[in-house]
Amino acid sequence: MADTPSLNLHVPEPEVRPGDTPDFSSFEIPRAGEVRCPEIDADPEDIRDLAFSIIRVLNKQGKAVGPWADMLSDDDLRAGLSHMMTLRTFDARMMVAQRQGKTSFYMQHLGEEAVSCAFRKALEPGDMNFPTYRQAGLLIANDFPLTQMMNQIYSNDGDSARGRQLPVFYSSKEHGFFSISGNLATQYIQAVGWSMASAIKGDTKIAAAWIGDGSTAESDFHASLVFASTYKAPVVLNVVNNQWAISTFQGIAKGGSGTFAARGLGFGIPALRVDGNDYLAVYAAAKWAADRARANLGPTIIEYVTYRAAGHSTSDDPSAYRPKDEKDAWPLGDPVDRLKAHLIGKGAWSEERHTQAEAEILVMVEEAQKESEAIGTLLTGTLPSPSDMFRDVFAEMPPHLVEQRQEAGV
């Protein structure tokens, strides 16, 4: 026993911290077009390698290359660019609105716009997303009115959920966007159950589950993979790996597993790993998984490799835990810049058109903001009635809540 070494605890650390030079040199990135595109009915056992590579379509020159390319028309791509630009502009305006005290809290998407905007395009009407707080592109790319989003953010009288939820926790059944929960990962298993219901009823609808890299550590994630695998649920299991869970780097949730996509392999779930800053690659992978689910072939897990270029929320300052310029060193670039360059390279877009589009989008967002603020913001204007606080706890208000509402005098 004298020779037995002492044990010591391994606590993973990111390679760099504030003050260090950002370094992604150990981050392996395959060349665009390199990863094969299997048939949707491929045996998960035969495509295990896809969990460890990165599906990329846009190369450094902005050209779409390889077997996952050429799935979208120029019109589709211009619309996709517009969606991402709208989301970015919307975020910028709402960040300012929060700083002005018009709402309590906001969460932006900077750098991650392609993930939700491109994914939405792979779904059909009637399908349902179970999003986290950083997928508002699912709404914008599905023509949800910006004013309604702002009404929710301002908790004003125009909010269909009556100002009950934290800002950005939208809900729209009609737009395939499930009510967001702040308890992370809980909705992953609900998406699986929702899709099981579609299969039980013999319908054609599929679900999409969403989770971040950090929340994959929750038991809900593992239960979801078991259920999805057991019942071959028609669901797309999305993992948005933006490298950071507030201040915690992805290595804390990932442990020694290699990639988040690889979590699916032990469950026999096909796993794709995708360049999350490449609109074309995100769409291609999403479409592959959606087609597979709709063909009754079961779930797919997709890891989107991206980078959270801004703080977690308006309550977060990332310079306290990572180098300030790390976002500039991120090797997969910016999703808006990359799609823009691709379209310009094809002759389907130009700097002039881009500048003009930026101006038009800003006007559109500003007009929506004016309309929403005319109803009210968190502290001014018309807010939901306090009596709304007592509604919708149950379908019918039970006697004890009627009593309490009367006591509250509302």
Partner: protein
């Protein structure tokens, strides 16, 4: 009317309702082919197919979480948590999700679902097969919580639960599955087949939530009880000779406040009995209601009889279980005051 055990009554409610409503799906651990460890879903898979009654992995959060997804889709899941003690991994899904879905989405997404849980002790199940967690549910806004004390109510309340537009926690006192256990563990139990409350109406039978039942009329004191403790209370009344009224609450939320106030106002004395631990138990809420609404009619301080504030023990089960002797002591206390 046929006589049934509580197990048969629960199964019958499933059968009648699954026949009437094609959106009801039933699943849980061992629930499908085998029909449940207590046999409450026996025969349902054979009759309705494995799309509507099936086995689930051992993951309570998975069972409840997937059911929430199904409910928001438009199905009506009626799921089983094998023992209420196993519920805790699913508590986040129940509290933060099912209970709040209607509220947080402004009524856009709702969770009409039933979560059945065999509950309570008296079966030598120790701390992981004996708990009574009702107060963990009645404390949560957005949940309804019911606990039947007999086969007829089990069927009727389960029917109401399956028709309810909101999530319902359905607690089945497993010590009552085969007969009205009165706390005398050393005596043979009277089977439901030979008991009036074992008579269960055939076909569709519904007992509305929020309505208590008077199990014994009396004028000297009121005993508020539910589940197994209803029968313990009746036995205590019998052995003490005190003319107490026994109220079976049946539905804890919504609660039949009127029935409580009516009875205690009449008798002026109140004993509250539950099997769950005492401190912060549902009895505290009942005591609060009684003192507020019946203060000027009360002749004596309210007494509570409950499980001790310890985990449920194995060897000392019958020292822990709040049996009829402790209820008699409480009755004597309120009568002597």
């Amino acid at each position: 009317m046929p006589n049934m055990t509580m197990i048969e009554a629960v199964r019958d409610a499933h059968d009648v309702m699954m026949e009437r409503d094609g959106d009801i799906v039933v699943y849980g651990q061992d629930v499908g082919y085998f029909g449940g460890v207590f046999r409450c879903t026996a025969g349902l898979q054979e009759k309705y197919g494995s799309n509507r009654c099936f086995d689930a992995p051992i993951s309570e959060l998975g069972i409840v979480g997937s059911a929430i997804g199904m409910a928001t889709y438009g199905l009506k899941p009626c799921i089983e948590i094998q023992f209420a003690d196993y519920m805790y991994p699913a508590y986040d899904q129940i509290v933060s999700e099912a209970a709040r879905m209607r509220y947080r989405s402004g009524g856009e997404f709702t969770c009409p679902m039933v979560i059945r849980m065999p509950t309570g002790g008296g079966i030598y199940g120790a701390q992981t097969h004996s708990q009574s967690p009702e107060a963990l549910f009645t404390h949560v806004a957005g949940l309804k919580t019911v606990m039947p004390s007999n086969p007829a109510d089990a069927k009727g309340l389960l029917t109401a639960a399956m028709e309810d537009p909101d999530p319902v926690i359905f607690l089945e006192p497993k010590r009552l599955y085969n007969g009205p256990f009165d706390g005398h563990h050393d005596k043979p139990i009277v089977p439901w087949k030979k008991h009036a409350l074992g008579e269960v109406p055939e076909g569709y039978h519904k007992v509305d939530f929020g309505k208590a039942a008077v199990r014994r009329e009396g004028s000297a004191a009121t005993i508020l009880a539910y589940g197994t403790m209803v029968h313990v209370a009746l036995e205590a009344v019998q052995s003490s000779g005190i003319d107490a009224e026994v109220i079976d609450l049946r539905s804890l939320l919504p609660l039949d406040k009127d029935a409580i106030v009516r009875s205690v106002s009449k008798t002026g004395r109140c004993v509250i009995v539950h099997e769950a631990t005492l401190t912060n138990g549902f009895g505290a809420e009942l005591a609060s209601i009684v003192q507020k609404e019946c203060f000027y009619q009360l002749e004596a301080p309210i007494q509570r009889v409950a499980g001790w504030d310890t985990p449920y023990p194995h060897a000392s089960e019958w020292d822990y279980f709040p049996g009829p002797d402790r209820v008699v002591t409480a009755l004597n206390t309120v009568m002597e005051a």
